[in-house]
Symmetry: C2
Subunit: 228 residues, 2 copies
Amino acid sequence: MKNLLQSVRITINDKLYVKDPESSNLGKRIVEESIIMINDIGFENFTFKKLGQKIGSNESSIYRYFENKHKLLLYLASWYWGWLEYRLVFATNNIPDANAKLEKAIEIMTQATEIDLAFTHIDEVLLNKIVINEYSKSYLTKEVDMENKEGYFVIYKRLVNRLSQMIKEVNTDYPYPESLASTLIEGALHQYFLMDHFSSLTSCDVNVTPTEYFKHIAFNTLNIKNNG
Amino acid sequence: MKNLLQSVRITINDKLYVKDPESSNLGKRIVEESIIMINDIGFENFTFKKLGQKIGSNESSIYRYFENKHKLLLYLASWYWGWLEYRLVFATNNIPDANAKLEKAIEIMTQATEIDLAFTHIDEVLLNKIVINEYSKSYLTKEVDMENKEGYFVIYKRLVNRLSQMIKEVNTDYPYPESLASTLIEGALHQYFLMDHFSSLTSCDVNVTPTEYFKHIAFNTLNIKNNG
DNA sequence: CAAATATAAAAGTATTACTATCAATATATA
DNA sequence: TATATATTGATAGTAATACTTTTATATTTG
C-alpha cells in the first residue's frame, strides 16, 4: 500500500523508551531487527544480548533505548495499533454512510496485513504476526493497572473506542458497542492464531476470511443486512 | 454447586506431569497451593522455589511432579477445561431443544465461576482467574505445534468442538460454527479481563453480564430469537 | 580543536530454572 | 519385625537471564 502523506509519524508514549529509537540510526536498527528477531524466535527466547549480537552492537547500548524487553514489546505494539488507527481514520474519514463506514472499519481491523512502504525500517507484516502471537503477554501481567495509568495502552484503547463509536452510529440502541468493538479486534487476532495452529477451532481458512466472519457477526448482531 | 456423582475425576494427559499429583498428598498440595500462589503473584513471578517454601517442601520435590512451571500451567488449565466440559455435558445432556441447549451451554461457558465442593483441593474460582489471566501464555509459544501434537490441548479442543456441534444443531446453514464457538469461549475470558482492568473497552459490568452479551451475539448471528 | 555526547567492551550481581547427589524418612513386603 | 523400596528433603552446583556499572573509544557539535 502507498502512503499519500509525505511523512506520517506514529507518536508513542515517551515513557515507553529511554531514548527515542527514531532519533538515531542505532535506534531504528534496534526496532527493525527486534521485529525480525521476536517474530523468528518468539518473545520468551528474545534477549537484548542476542539482539546486540545480531545488529553488531552491545547489550548495554540497547538498554539506553529501552529499559527492558517488556517495554520494547509495548513500544512495538503501540506502533502497530497507531499505524492501524491512522489507516482506520484515513480509510473511513470520507464515508458518510454509517453502515459502509463500519464495514470499511471492520475490513481494516481484520484483514491480513500488507506492507506499508512509508515506514522503511518497520515490516508491518511481521509486526502483525508479533501482535497476534505476543500482544496478550504485554497486558496479562500483575503490573497492568499501573502501566495502564501510565498510558502504555492509550493508542489501543483509542482504537477500540473509535470502532465502538462507529458501531453506535450504525445502531444507537445496540447495548454492547464497547464489547463488540473489543471482541472484533481481539477476536481477529485470535482467529488468525487459530488458522495457524488450531485449524479445527476456526471456520476460517484460505477461502473464508476472518473479515467475512466478523462482518457477519457485526451486521447480524446489529440487525443490519450485510453489504459484503 | 453440588456434585451429583460420588467421585468424578478429571483425566489429564499424563505427559503433562512426571508423577500424577492426584496420587499423593504432596502432589495435591502442589496443585492446591500453586493455584493460590499463581493467582496471587502472577505466573511470571511464580517459581517452584517459592512454592516449595510456601508448602514447606523442597524445590526438587516439586520437580518430581512437574517438569517445569509451563507444564504445571498446562495441567491446571486442562483441569479447568475438563471441569467445564463435565459441567457442560451434565447440564445440557437432557435438553432436547437445540436452542435451549445452546443457551444453557453459553451460560455454562460464560458465567462467573462458583466453587465446586466435589474437588476439595482445587479452588475453581481462583482457577478461573488464572485461566483468564494466564491461559493465553500456555499456547502463545514457539512450541505450540509440537505440544499440540503431544495432546496438551485436547480437552480445550474437545470443549470448543462440543460447543460448535451445538451451534450447528441450532442452525445447520450457519457458515462459521467453529469460529463462533472459539470466539464465545476465548471472548468470555477476554471480557472478564477487560471488566477488571480496562472497563472502557467492555460494555459488561455488575449489571450487564458477558453471558447476556454473548447470548445476544450467538442468537442474532444464528438468526434465532433469544429466549434469555 | 575542545567539549559533549553516543556507543562499545567488559565485568559484576542477583535471580531463575533447572540437575545431581546424598541423606532421612516413610511405606510396603517377605 | 526386619528389610527393601520408594518418597521426600537438604544442599550444592550450573548455565542463562536480566540487568548495572565502569571505563574506553568513537563521533558530533559548538
